[in-house]
């Protein structure tokens, strides 16, 4: 007999919850009970009486940060906006609302977010928990800087308001606290009024890593700056980059550079999607070398002439390709993101890039950014330079990354927890002196016994 299920079929699944879950890197994949509350009150109730549990947003952390050791609470159902005050630009939203949701609703009305990460598909709760940064961190700080307050559900069920003046220590420890201080239910953010939603971009070509850092350093007054490094370049060209500098475009910029453009263009729709079984051989050395060469020539052709770039591809270039994480295949990948303090950055980053280029399996492009002070004790940023690269998971990868960790630790740097799937406790503890403050808070709120992700268990948080 055929067993087509039709609407209204009463065959409820008795245990829908137990599933295999991974982060954006598809590594590691682990079993967890998945809870999907539909209201803030329901989310709080799901916390009660459970342990080994952590909240999950859009699942865009790369490693094991948003997978509970026993249970995971997906906050995607907390996707309602509460209120907006146009006079103060304050927006209150539930924790599962995404940056894409906010920009879709408010960009046409002349507001942006002062801090956005490299993808708009993260939730507000996740952005706070990872204290994400953008291309303007050196000037404007992390996501926590645009957060006025949030409500946190503690594992005992108590709901507390946190801001810089109320429960300030809990507020600070939650920025970058990876969901380990409590579950964020909602937050009030300050939006950025903008004259237009275009970016006026300047492109500079840097022949090697030193030149790229010179460019970033010399243009620290630019609102946005980032360098895309060609990881395939070696020798004297090691670290050759395109450096992108940008400002929010004014009406006058539009009049001058693109008078026909609408000042507040709609979001771009996703153009491409990567199939589940992406042929990995497409990403071979030759094709990448050709791609990088074309990419650099195109960038170099724009050198010295400012041009207007749509906000969506400017801030979120990879979002145009849905499921781009699939290009690394079934075993998944690790995104390695470290920050090296200013004074050691040039030497150590050159060393890392050299090893990576000789190894030859990293992503063909790496991202280099300047960072400023972190917002909370567990925030990733510190004054220095951060380098980001993808590596497909392979048998030899982890020993190689351990070697890079030694360089990072020696230089007084650290690794970004939102990307991490594999660092050791020793590396973590040396990088995060703020850990003591997080542990104190977890002790006080009872979170230490109850809130646990695979990341926190691995790192002994």
């Amino acid at each position: 007999m055929p067993t087509v299920a039709l609407p209204g079929r009463a065959s409820a699944i008795s245990d829908p919850g137990e599933i295999r879950l991974s982060g954006w890197g598809n590594y590691p994949k682990v079993s967890t009970e998945l809870l999907a509350p539909r209201t803030p009150a329901g989310a709080r109730d799901d916390l009660l009486g459970r342990s080994g549990i952590v909240a999950r947003g859009a699942g865009r952390a790369y490693g094991d940060a948003a997978i509970g050791t026993q249970a995971t609470i997906s906050l995607r159902g907390l996707n309602r906006m509460r209120r907006f005050n146009a006079a103060t630009a304050q927006l209150t939203v539930e924790a599962g609302v995404t940056i894409a949701d906010i920009l879709a609703a408010f960009e046409p009305r002349g507001f942006f977010l002062r801090v956005v990460p490299g993808t708009k598909f993260v939730t507000v709760g996740g952005a706070i928990a990872a204290d994400v940064h953008g291309k303007n961190h050196h000037r404007d700080g992390g996501f926590g800087n645009i957060v006025d307050s949030f409500r946190l559900a503690l594992p005992g069920g108590e709901i507390v308001s946190c801001s810089r003046s109320e429960n300030a220590a809990l507020f600070a420890a939650t920025l970058g606290g990876m969901g380990l201080t409590g579950m964020i239910l909602d937050a009030t953010l300050r939006l950025l009024p903008i004259e237009t939603a275009w970016l006026r971009q300047d492109t500079r070509v840097a022949g090697n890593l030193d030149a790229a850092i010179d460019q970033l350093e010399g243009n620290a007054s630019s609102t946005y700056s980032v360098a895309w490094i060609d990881c395939l370049a070696r020798g004297a060209a090691l670290g050759r980059s395109l450096v992108y500098l940008a400002e929010h475009a004014t009406r006058r910029d539009i009049d001058r550079l693109g008078p026909a453009l609408a000042p507040f263009p709609s979001p771009r729709t996703q153009l491409l999607s990567v199939p589940e079984l992406f042929p990995g051989w497409l990403l071979n050395g030759t094709s990448m070398r050709v791609f990088n060469e074309l990419y650099f020539r195109r960038g170099a052709a724009h050198q010295g002439e400012p041009r207007l770039v749509h906000w969506d591809p400017y801030f979120f270039p990879l979002d145009a390709i849905s499921d781009w994480n699939r290009i690394y295949g079934r075993r998944g990948f690790v995104q390695y993101q470290c920050v090296i303090p200013l004074e050691r950055a040039r030497r150590v980053l050159a060393d890392i890039l050299d090893r990576v280029s000789r190894r030859g399996d990293a992503s063909f492009l790496a991202v280099l950014k300047q960072l400023g002070d972190g917002g909370g004790p567990m925030s990733f940023p510190l004054p220095g330079y951060t380098l980001t690269m993808d590596f497909p998971v392979s048998d030899s990868l982890f020993a190689f990354l351990d070697q890079l960790d030694v360089l990072v630790v020696d230089a007084g740097g650290r690794l970004y927890l939102a990307k991490d799937a594999r660092q050791s406790r020793a590396t973590f503890e040396s990088g995060y002196p703020g850990l003591a403050a997080l542990r104190d808070i977890r002790q006080q709120t009872g979170a230490n016994a109850r809130l646990a992700s695979h990341l926190s268990a691995r790192l002994g948080i």
Partner: protein, 248 residues
């Protein structure tokens, strides 16, 4: 500008009701959500108002209190241009077979109450000479099945009610009636069910299709997803001698 148009969603605390109201709000329509669970409706109204910037209000309404439906419609401060009824309850079929009270509630919620309420709107819209009535029924009403025949029978009744209402109003003039038959939709109602991905849609897809059938490309009866029309055509074409032995 359609800024002066307004929509009333009955069942405004539901996921399809929320998505539908938001779709209209994005075009500048003023929104009223009516629901029994006022707190849930208010949460949806706040979301719609914040996202769209339009005026959004809530009204308390328990459709099962059928004696109050005429008063509810007469008491509306603004008679909406479009009313969308998404009221429905799947219920527990197995329990309903031994619990007449539950069976009665399922049938009243899915057929009796929505029909009596929309009759009131039909009269008010006919008196005004304009309006669209959108009734969200279900593909489950196309053929009765063992797994949900109380729900299915009630939806079948609602579908036929809408058909008759459309016939009557089309003969009389300008009031339109749209029947919406969703298949699988990812909502609170189906949260506990495993649904086949190729045939399952999100609530905003239902909302988009409702808006289109009402405003941009008027239709009388729509299936969401559209391919469900074919699925149901095949199921309805099966001879009863075969159908009665199937588990679907």
């Amino acid at each position: 500008m359609t800024g002066t148009k307004s929509i009333l969603v009955i069942g405004g605390s539901s996921d399809i009701g929320h998505a539908t109201a938001l779709r209209y709000a994005k075009e500048g329509w003023r929104v009223t959500l009516a629901a029994r669970d006022l707190a849930a409706a208010q949460r949806n109204a706040d979301d719609i108002g914040t996202r769209s910037g339009v005026d959004t209000t809530v009204q308390s309404l328990d459709v099962l209190q059928t004696g109050q439906l005429a008063g509810f419609v007469a008491g509306l401060s603004v008679l909406p241009d479009t009313v969308v009824c998404v009221v429905g309850e799947l219920g527990d079929q197995l329990r309903a077979q031994t619990d007449p009270e539950l069976a009665t509630t399922i049938m009243r919620t899915n057929f009796e109450a929505p029909s009596l309420l929309l009759e009131q709107f039909a009269q008010a819209f006919a008196a005004r000479g304009s309006g669209t009535i959108v009734g969200v029924s279900s593909v489950a009403g196309d053929r009765g099945r063992a797994s949900n025949y109380y729900y299915g029978a009630a939806k079948a009744g609602f579908t036929q009610f809408l058909s008759g209402l459309r016939n009557r109003l089309a003969l009389a003039g300008k009031v339109r009636v749209v029947t919406v038959k969703p298949g699988f939709v990812r909502t609170k109602m189906t949260a506990h069910m495993k649904l086949p991905a190729p045939l399952t849609v999100q609530p905003d897809r239902v909302a988009e299709d409702i808006y289109r059938a009402d405003v941009t490309r008027p239709r009388d009866v729509i299936y969401v997803a559209r391919r469900f029309w074919l699925v149901m055509a095949i199921i309805c074409a099966l001879p009863e001698t075969i159908f009665k032995r199937m588990r679907i």
